[in-house]
Amino acid sequence: MKDLLLTEDQRDALQEMMNISMGQAAKSLAQLIDVQITLSIPTINEASPDDLVEILNHSDDTWYARQSFLGQIKGEVLSLISKEGCDAMAELMDYDKPLCDAQTQELILELTNILSGACLSGLSSQLELKSNLNMPTLFNSLTNGKPNYNWATVLLVEVCFSIESFSFNARVVICLEENSIVALKASLDALLS
């Protein structure tokens, strides 16, 4: 059985790194859309399938999107984007209003890509682990039942973005699969030693 739990030191180091890199990401984001973005402190948790189901449980006021990444670390980034504030966001990102369905989807996918990209490149550049994002897709949240996942543990690195002036918020969760957790731990150890 693989040891998938992070030690306290590893966790602290990862959190600190994420914090620094997310700060940089927020800066470039602010440059792109010209608005002040508030970031939460990144949280790091091991999660079971039940924990993930809780995150993906359906809520009417949220858009759900996911984006997979491949490379030295693999997994998926989930974005939970509030429907509230999306119109204001569209304006900032130079979309014509009112948004039609396709444009709304494009906006959500664009936001997902920007936010996931910022988070993932933060993580991979600090740890010197290469990984590439694939195309983002929208998906339906879970409305009933628990899917049959074929894993027992994933590592969730979560950051919340918010823009207070129009109550927009987005939850970005990087999910690392088991082999990548091992790679991550090795990379953290190398940095700590």
């Binding site: 792109l32 996918l109 990209g117």
Partner: protein
């Protein structure tokens, strides 16, 4: 061949479009796929602005390229949201039905050693085949969905029809039963009733006769006879019987009268009576009915009438319609009790003349609403309603090819709307 040349030749021959631009959106590289679809030579467009070459998508491309330079991350576009970024012709000019190529786009940052973005590389994937297939599939899915909806509505219609059928079947069998019962009971209750009437007269006389003999014995004043009389009367509780017998007969007469009334209703319900079709006015019908039932209204109940002027008389069974109005008005009177309002409205709407009877009474419980037209269904206290009024009304209105509708909410009141077709009320 040297390695970089090999790589460049691979890049040129890749089965997907690749186009590199600098920060100013100027084209610095174009592979064969891209140049071929643009129908130009690479050298003719090198150094030109991509935005000027594709003015329709300039705003979108500018946004995408800027984001790559600023965020140093890839950005994507998917055919479903934006099918034709570049106006390239379809890759299936012969067998395909679409005229433009469906494209997925990914814009990649190309960075130098100091992690600065030098160029943005636009890659285009031709997904025409998948997109067309997906579009066909969704079309089929839409058609299926439509069919499914049509089926569902048909099924619900069927269910409605079935329940109507069951209802009318029930009404018909109850009608037959009622006719039978009415016929059987009618003559015995007739003689029972008239016998009790005669009995009432006889009893009165008998009591008088006894009182007379009582007085006679008193007048004669013989002690022995007086004692005998007193003893006899006491033993047979004459004083009590004398009073009770009158009440008993009266109650029996009352009961028999009620049974007669029920039998009458049953006869009406089963249409034992002849049907007279005549030209008559609904307003006249309402007015004459009001004369009969006004005694049912408590003094604090106000009556509001709203009759449309110039309504033509209808060819209908006037007496039967009056029966309907009477039922509705009596029900309204019972519903409002001591305080409230009753609104009567007669008006025409489309091919119907309508009578609305609305009250501000107690309303009908939602669970009872489906049963109110069922025979023998009543919520009134025993003896006050037969449960036949509304089912009788329902049948009468159906015989006119009309409708009777009800809206009710508990605590607010009830409205019955009777609709009678102006033409062809009679088949």
């Amino acid at each position: 061949m040297h390695k970089p040349e090999l790589l460049e030749s691979l890049l040129r021959k890749l089965p997907m479009g690749a186009c590199m631009v600098d920060k100013e959106y100027r084209i610095v590289f174009l592979n064969d796929f891209f140049a071929d679809r643009m129908d130009c030579d690479e050298k003719d467009v090198l150094g030109k602005s991509l935005l000027e070459l594709f003015p329709d998508q300039a705003r979108f491309l500018k946004k995408k390229i800027n984001s790559v330079f600023i965020l140093k991350n890839e950005t994507f576009s998917y055919w479903e949201q934006r099918p034709h970024i570049f106006n390239f012709l379809s890759s299936r000019p012969v067998t395909g039905e679409e005229s433009l190529m469906f494209q997925n786009m990914e814009v990649l940052p190309l960075m130098d050693d100091s992690h600065e973005v030098l160029y943005a590389c636009i890659t285009i994937q031709d997904v025409t085949a998948q997109a067309s297939y997906y579009n066909d599939l969704s079309k089929v899915a839409d058609e299926l969905e439509l069919e499914h909806k049509a089926q569902a509505s048909l099924i619900s219609k069927l269910k409605d029809t079935q329940s109507q059928l069951v209802h009318s079947e029930k009404m018909a069998s109850i009608g037959q039963l009622a006719a039978g019962v009415a016929h059987e009971i009618n003559s015995p209750i007739g003689f029972v009733y008239s016998n009790i009437e005669i009995l009432q007269d006889y009893i009165g006389k008998l009591v008088k006769i006894t009182q007379f003999s009582d007085k006679l014995i008193d007048k004669i004043g013989q002690e022995l006879h007086l004692k005998l009389k007193k003893d006899f009367f006491e033993r047979h509780e004459f004083d009590y019987i004398k009073e009770d017998v009158v009440d008993l007969v009266e109650e029996s007469l009352d009961g028999a009268k009620r049974v007669k009334a029920i039998v009458e209703s049953l006869k009406e319900f089963s249409h034992a009576d002849a049907k007279h079709w005549t030209e008559s006015s609904l307003i006249d019908g309402i007015e004459s009915t009001l004369k009969i039932v006004s005694s049912q209204f408590e003094s604090n109940v106000t009556l509001h009438k709203d009759y449309e002027k110039g309504l033509t008389p209808l060819f209908c069974m006037g007496m039967q319609l009056n029966q309907v109005f009477m039922n509705l008005l009596v029900n309204a009177a019972h519903a409002v009790g001591e305080n409230g309002s009753i609104f009567i409205k007669v008006f025409s709407e489309g091919e119907f003349q309508k009578v609305s009877v609305r009250d501000t009474g107690i309303g009908i419980d939602a669970k009872n609403l489906s049963k109110i037209f069922d025979p023998f269904f009543t919520t009134k206290p025993v003896g006050r309603g037969t449960g036949l009024g509304l089912s009788l009304s329902y049948n009468i209105i159906k015989n006119h090819n009309g409708n009777i509708d009800v809206k009710s909410s508990v605590g607010e009141g009830t409205e019955f709307i009777v609709s009678i077709p102006i033409k062809h009320a009679k088949e």
